[in-house]
Symmetry: C2
Subunit: 417 residues, 2 copies
């Protein structure tokens, strides 16, 4: 079954790559329209999934994630329209040159090809990924969560109708309509047909994909994020940046996990930052030197265990550590960071420049919250993933990062000397 899906994807890929921008945008607009027009049907199918999940005793957070309602569906449709409004990267020409050998050369953006996307309960991912894939001329094989099967079927129907109406192959977006987990392993083995695997889920899913596929896996979305408070930092303002990075949305990958404080300001800074964040429900894991600076101790402050500096909290917990200087801070980051988002708070330009030069994370900040690492905040208009791998793309991946390029050389019956 999966092999057949792979073959069909490859065939559809050649056709979709040639679709022009208008044609692709028409598909997206029709999907958005139909999501609203078919609202009742989609929500009815979604109720089936929600009821089954409730019966099966799934956690309320999970059930919430798979639940659609009119307002959420409106949001999904609006996102599709936004993607339609973005510039099409495919066909863009760049790096033009006329070489001394006479060749007129340039690069031209083309789709990556076939995306394999593996995700969990959220049905909005089905439409999000569909919109990004179609816009960039990529075909996609989608493997959603088994608990969302009825909803996804209804959504994929909408997608297929829009493709068909606009004379594009329905196999441009294929949905693996089989909740057997063996299909995931088979999808990961389709290296003859699939160009890249995009897992949308937690660390375990990423690890499973990497360990079971020869296809390039876009690894990302895991952030153990640091802010270093240098001795020259404006402490008042530093507290607000840390407060924002930790509390604005603690469940996401760019939320702050660790604060490193220069020993020269630890005694003054730590009690103040703890007081400010504790008031909003944050609890703390402090190594001994940090702990000794926090008075009075409360039940919300614990001695950090060995693994606390290698933990992505995804909740209102913050690790605290005192360091001797910038070097110790950067050593700690090199050892413990997932290379997602790390920053320095300082008034010293030399220290800031050293931090920028020497900390090698996907996003490096000076006097800014780690929460900015995001396709929307970075002005990309859309986001497929936040890559923490090193090849192809790092950090937020937008439409352009779903493309590659080919070289185009034009001559007048030119031969190589």
């Amino acid at each position: 079954m999966m092999n057949e899906i792979g073959k069909c994807a490859k065939i559809a890929s050649r056709r979709l790559a040639r679709a022009n921008t208008d044609q692709k945008n028409q598909v997206l607009t029709m999907i958005a329209d139909e999501l609203i027009a078919q609202r009742e049907l989609i929500l009815r199918e979604n109720v089936k999934d929600v009821e089954a999940a409730t019966e099966a005793g799934l956690a309320p957070a999970l059930i919430d994630r798979l639940t659609l309602n009119p307002s959420r569906l409106n949001g999904v449709a609006a996102d599709v329209r936004r993607v339609a409004s973005l510039p099409d990267p495919v066909g863009e020409q760049f790096d033009h040159a006329t070489l001394s050998n006479g060749l007129k050369l340039h690069k031209q953006r083309v789709p990556l090809g076939v995306l394999g996307v593996i995700y969990e309960s959220r049905p909005n991912v089905t439409i999000d990924v569909t919109a990004l894939a179609i816009k960039t001329g990529n075909v996609a094989i989608l493997r959603g969560g088994s608990e969302t099967l009825n909803t996804n079927r209804a959504l994929i129907n909408v997608v297929h109708r829009a493709l068909e109406t606009n004379q594009l192959p329905v196999n441009a977006i294929q949905f693996v309509d089989d909740s057997d987990r063996a299909r995931v392993t088979e999808l990961l083995a389709l290296h003859d047909y699939v160009d890249v695997i995009i897992p949308r889920g937690g660390a375990a899913l990423h690890k499973f994909c990497r360990e079971n596929s020869r296809i390039t896996v876009i690894t990302g979305g895991i952030g153990i994020c640091h802010l270093f408070v240098d001795e020259s930092a404006d402490l008042e303002k530093a507290i607000e940046v840390i407060h924002n990075a930790k509390t604005q949305r603690p469940s996401v990958c760019n939320a702050l996990d660790v604060v490193l404080v220069h020993r020269a300001v630890a005694a003054e800074f730590l009690p103040r930052v703890v007081a400010r964040l504790a008031a909003d429900g944050v609890t703390f894991r402090a190594e001994p030197r940090a702990l000794s600076n926090i008075q009075p101790l409360t039940s919300n402050i614990q001695l950090a265990s060995e693994t606390d500096f290698d933990t992505e909290w995804l909740s209102l917990v913050l690790s605290l550590k005192v360091v001797d200087d910038l070097d110790e801070a950067m050593d700690h980051i090199a050892q413990h960071s997932t290379a997602h988002s790390d920053g320095i708070l300082t008034r010293d330009t030399d220290q800031a420049n050293r931090f920028i030069a020497e900390v090698d994370s996907a996003a490096v900040y000076v006097n800014a919250s780690t929460r900015f690492t995001d396709g929307g905040e970075f002005g990309l208009g859309a986001e497929v993933a936040v890559s923490t791998q090193r090849l192809h793309a790092r950090g937020p991946m937008g439409l352009r990062e779903l493309t590659t390029y080919k070289w185009v050389g034009v001559g007048d019956y030119l031969i190589r000397k």
Copy 2:
């Protein structure tokens, strides 16, 4: 052993990434100087390898590839000086923007990290890769062929002395001094330390790497290359382009393998192109329709077998096929090309533009020889590999393609709203 090498590479990587351009160029200059100064010693060690290979009965072509002489060593040293003279991509800043959220954002080029390079007999690869790696701030783990062990030891000594003299870690370039093939498999398993695997060798080596590693493998260097002679082509000039693409250096990946001829010009064109190339020793594999156009038939013209259109010849053999039109030509290319280098010979701009838009190979040509797909010819100054994969880089990979980027965001204690 390999795990230790991986750890040491990761540590050296942080240090080498911070080396400035002057420091890196000084290392390269010293390597070039010492290759000349130590010439006698290096050639003496090389003689040992050549003698052992002769005794072991290795093929003359293989022995030639591993043989150094004063002129070849001069060439290797000159290549190192040329890499030193190229601009350093590391630290380059691009895509500057000040966003509406207040963040000043740009991208900054950084080394890929740790390269794992697996190659065969040619000792010049040891120095080539070393020069490219050091220039781009990348650390490398080199696994050369067992038949070149003595030569490689002498070369690596030169490299290590140059690193040490210039206060850079000798572990920046580590050589796996053990010809047990198990070390290759262990290198491929170092996904915690190695960022990319670069195989330098034939299709079998590439396949082995891809099948035995979770690390991204730069696949490339396999080219089944096509030229399509359209009905509007200038036939006289087309013959010369085909002659160049096939005969100028038949043993390399960008040499021509297949000529597709529009049926409207097949009768006129095929006898002429066959006569011209046969005079230089080319033999032909023609499908029936092509064959019917070639008169008189000689012993150098065979009926093409089923696999002849899926074969990279690497020698003076050329496959010939007549097609009905551009669509059939592009269908054939889509099915049989390795997406390395494919071109059209035509006077019709519309046909040329369709070919450019719809043929998705790393390099697509109009009225030019496929032999141009090369880092030097493309003006990159150096070449690590010619990628036929889709992610990260396609076609000739120069210094820039050995780097990635990080995002740098600067604010004034900026928080996300």
